[in-house]
Structure formats: C-alpha cells, structure tokens
Amino acid sequence: MDLNTFLMVFAVSACIYMACNIGANDVANAMGTSVGSGSLTFKQAIYVAAIAEFAGAYFVGGHVSDTIRKGMLDPIIFSDAPIHLVYGMIAALVAAALWLNIASYLGWPVSTTHSIVGAVVGFGVTAGGLDAITWSKVWAVVISWIVSPLMGGVVAFLLFRFLTNQVFRRRNPLLYAKKILPYMIFLVCVILANAMFYKGLKNLYLDLSFAKAMFYSIIFGVIGFLVSKPLAKKIPDVPKKEIHNQLEATENIFKYLQITTAFYIAFAHGSNDVANAVGPLAAVFSILESGTVAMKVAMPSWILALGGGFIVFGLLIWGRRVMETIGNKITEITPSRGFCATFAGATVVLVCSKMGLPVSTTHTLVGSVIGVGLARGLPTLNLGIIKEIIISWVATVPFTGLLAAILFKIMLFTLS
C-alpha cells in the first residue's frame, strides 16, 4: 500500500471514529428532553434521530466545513508541503474523537465542535506557528460559543414566557394550546424548509436564493398549518373547571409539538455537526487527489453521506444505551418545557450554521434549558452540575489542541 492510500484509509477511519462519537455523544443531548418528558420512547427517538440526523448532514451539512477547514487555518503555509496538512487533519480528527470518547466515558456533555476547533488550532500552531492561524476567525468562533448558549437561553426564555402568557396562564389553556398548535407547526416547517432550500440541498441542485427559499418555505409552512389545523380541532375539549385535566390535555398537545421539534433538533444537529467529522476528511481527500492545497474545495457528496451514515451508526450502537437510561429515569421535564428548550436550541443552531458559525448544539441546548428554568418553567435547576459542565467545556480546547499537536509531531517523524 503506498503512502497516499494508507493516509486516505487512515483519514477515512478517523472520520468514521469521529462521526460515531458525534452520534453517541450529542444525539442523547439533542433527543434527551423528548425522551425524558415521555413524548417519545427511546426507540422512537432513535428512529427520528437516525432519519433527521442523516437528512440534516447530507442535505445541509456542507456549510460549516468551510469555516473549520479554511477559515481558521491559512492553507498557504502548507503549500510547500501539502502532506503536512494531511497529517494535521488526521491528527485533529483522532484527537477530537479521543476527547469525545473520554468525555462520554466520564459523563461530560462536551461540544464536538469545540473539540475539532481546538484540535485544528493545536496542530496549526505546531505546524506553522501562531501566524498560521487566522485568529480573527478563531475569535469569531469563540464568541459564537459564548453567544450560542446565551442566544439559546434568551430564545427559550422568551418562547416559554410567550407560551406562559398565551396558554398556561389562561383560564382555558387547552383551547389556546389547540389554537396555537398550527402556528407553531407553521414556524417549525418554515425554518426547517428554509434551512434546506436556502444554500442547502446542493446535492440535489436546489441552491436557491433567500427570497425564493423563503417563498417555498412559506408554502411548506402553510401546508403544515393546513394539515395540523383540522387535527388540532379534533382534540376533545375538557371542561374548564377540571383544571388538572385541562393542564394534562394541554401537555398532550405539546407532545406532538415536541416530536416535531425532536426531528428539528436532530436535523439541525446533523447539519451543523457533521462538518466536524467530514470537514478534515474533505481537506485530506482534495490534497491527496490534486497534490496541492486548494483554496476552495468542494465537499464531495460521498463524504457527507459517509459522515451522516456513521453519525447514525454511532447513535445506534452507543447512543442507544444512553437514550435507554434517559427513558428509564424520571426527569422533571414536561413536553411543553422540553418543546421550548429544543425549539429554541434548534433554531439558534440552524441560524448560526447558516451563517457559517460552528456553534455547539450541546452548549446551545444547555443554554436553552437554563432559559426555560429562569422563566420559572422547571421545578429545579441543578446549578452545581452546570458549573461542572462549564469546566469540562473550558478543558476541551486545550486538551484537543495539545493532543492534536502531539499526534501531528508523531506522524511527522514516523511518516516522513
């Protein structure tokens, strides 16, 4: 086997390892609230996640890869020895995947996005010094890490407050929940469809302008609205005086919404996080193919399919167990609260990934859960755990950075 074939096999394996870890680590976080509130059984959650993750990864996943591959790293420094970039990307993949594996084992919900960014910066600095890194891009990424939980929190807080006033604090919450259901479905459909149509679906040659994408999205939303409206009407009424039953029936409506948003978050996650696995592989592939460091590399569909496929594989093999534990645990989250957290998280992730910012799905969700809690939506919020989570977040970048640097050096010495 010549070196190039070996490197390609190595890179593909590393990408698969990374994708599996992403599937195992993140999907439980994305789907956890739906399973915890009982809207989905863990098996249903697995199916929804598998379909949505793959769809998100394959159809929309192309964008964020650009930022990770080229934005933060100046490829010029590798033009003399393109093979070094290959080593680096492989080292980055392995380092990030290892960290994810360790974190899963220790029980830290860390970000896959942070892991890969840290790793890329780590080998970049080792290979080309501090100048090799486009720090302004890195800072933009760092800011998006802080901004994404904040945005998740704010959106979730406002959404929950809105639902509180529009539904739960009414004398007849069920009636208002039934009224609001089609509008919420409309919103989910529009944002989801827009994410697919606008600059997405490149693989299907459906790269539309924003205005056109919006137009089709609204049509899609209206269809969702028209389908859900008669369904909402069919839900039987509960007498106003039976407050407890009213609230219970209201939560049942939110179950439908939460199932929709479970798809939504898995889709958003797939579209956003697949890049963490396939971005480096695409770079490796293009260098090995052409022998030069290209400024612009197209993302081959097969790589996206590979990433999406193994995210699903990872969640089926490892994520499954985690989901099962969640399903058996009693969690203090109801469908309406879960809906708010998930909806807010997914929206922020989709908007950010459309803007090319590699935000963390996990961080955004942590932020949106806190947002719902601060809006008095949850019986408790364990702030101690949150502190622990934040510490593991901070540890991510230095760890993967260092590990990637070491792996890069090792490859440099042994392979050339």
């Binding site: 680590n25 439980a28 976080n29 956890g32 609230t33 915890g36 899963s104 084992y105 029980g107 830290w108 919900p109 509180t164 739960f168 604090r169 009414r170 004398r171 007849n172 919450p173 106003k240 407050i243 407890h244 009213q246 609230l247 939560e251 167990r321 985690v322 534990t325 969640i326 645990k329 969690t331 203090e332 989250i333 109801t334 996990t362 969700l365 942590v366 859960v369 806190i370 809690g373 601060l374 008095r376 939506g377 949850l378 019986p379 408790t380 919020l381 364990n382 702030l383 101690g384 755990i385 949150i386 502190k387 989570i389």
Partner: protein
C-alpha cells in the same frame, strides 16, 4: 454517560407533598384523640398520641431530607426562602398536633359537660381547616405546570382566602370557648390550666395551617 438532563435535579416539590401527607395523617388523628379523651378511654388516648409522635417523626425525617438535598446550587422557580418557609409551616402543623397530644397525656381529666359540644365543634373546625391547607400543597404540581398563573392560581388564591376566613372563625370559636371555660367555677386549677392550653394549641394548629395559604400566596405574587 451523563447528558444535559443531569441539569434537572430531583424536584423538591414532590417530597414536599410526601411531607404534607404525613402532616395530614397527624391532623386526621386529632378528632379520634379528642373522641377518646371525652369518652375517658385514656388508654386509647395514649395509643393515638404515640401514633402521632411516630408520624410526626416521619415528617421530620422528610423535612431534614428536603433541607439536606436542597443545596445552595439549586435554582427553584420560587424564592428559596419562601420554599423553606412553606416547609416550616407544614412542619409546624405536625409539631402543633404533637404538642396537643402531649398536653392531653399529662393528666387524665374529665371534660366538663358544658364545654364538650363547643370543644368538639372547634376540633372539627380546626381539622377541616388543616385538611384544606394540606390539600393546597397537593395543588403545587398543577400550579407549577400552570406557571403560577391562570385558573390554577385563582384556585389557590381562593383557597388561601377561605383558609384565612376559617382561621378567623377558629379564633372566634376559641375565644368563646375560653370565655365558657373561665366562667366555670367548679374547675380545679390544673384542669383549668390544662384545658386552656389545649384550646390554645388547637388555635395554634389553625394558625400554622393558615400560614400555608399565606406562603403560597407569596409564590404567586413574585
């Protein structure tokens, strides 16, 4: 593996309900206690009093448990002091009932004929009132679900207001009973003192029960 779901600590509102269940059990023993006392079945009084102590102890344990599992780092949708206040109010009811049982074990005295009916009237009134207070705690979960608003909040407000009225009536009954007690001339000092204490403690149960309504009102106003 841990997920973001570990951010949800165990809800302290559920143990609050288990606590009130114990308190309610204490409250429900008041009537049998007085029945046994007035029918001079002092053995039974002893028995019930011991039962009350046992249940009160159980409630105490739940209370300690809640306090220990409510660390600083937990965020509640209500003010933590109000929450603790509610727990104390609940526990004070059980304590008052236990005190009552202790008082009635001090000396076996005969309840004067003239006092018997108004005393039982006060007992039933206080027991009903305390029961209403306990059922308010069972509404907490719905109140949380309704985000401290809507029809559920109105229900709580009404219950709190009714509790206030009932407590006012208990005060009146207590006053009239005390008047009757002190107008009896053939009563020994020990009997007079003990019966007066018992009446005062009954009023205490009513006072503590009313506090539950007041604390829940605080939940709503913040």
């Amino acid at each position: 593996m841990r997920t973001i779901l570990s951010m949800f600590a165990k809800s302290p509102f559920k143990p609050l309900v288990s606590h009130i269940d114990q308190v309610n059990e204490c409250v429900n023993k008041i009537k049998p206690l007085f029945d046994a006392y007035s029918s001079k079945d002092y053995k039974k009084v002893e028995e019930i009093a011991k039962d009350i102590s046992k249940v009160e102890y159980k409630a105490d344990k739940i209370k300690t448990d809640i306090r220990q599992h409510l660390p600083q780092s937990i965020f509640l949708p209500v003010d933590k002091r109000d929450f603790m206040g509610l727990l104390s109010a609940q526990d004070d009811i059980a304590d008052a009932v236990e005190d009552l049982a202790v008082l009635m074990r001090i000396k076996n005295i005969e309840i004067p004929e003239k006092l018997s009916d108004p005393l039982m009237d006060l007992v039933i009134h206080v027991v009903d009132l305390a029961n209403d207070a306990c059922s308010m705690i069972r509404e907490l979960e719905d109140l949380l679900e309704a985000s401290f608003g809507g029809a559920e909040a109105e229900k709580i407000e009404t219950m709190a207001a009714n509790l206030g009225t009932a407590e006012y009536e208990a005060d009146k009954k207590q006053f009239l009973l005390a008047q009757k007690l002190f107008s009896l001339n053939d009563l020994g000092a020990a009997e007079l003192f003990l019966l007066n204490e018992v009446i005062k403690k009954l009023g205490g149960v009513a006072d503590q029960s009313e506090k539950i309504g007041k604390t829940l009102h605080l939940f709503l106003s913040r």
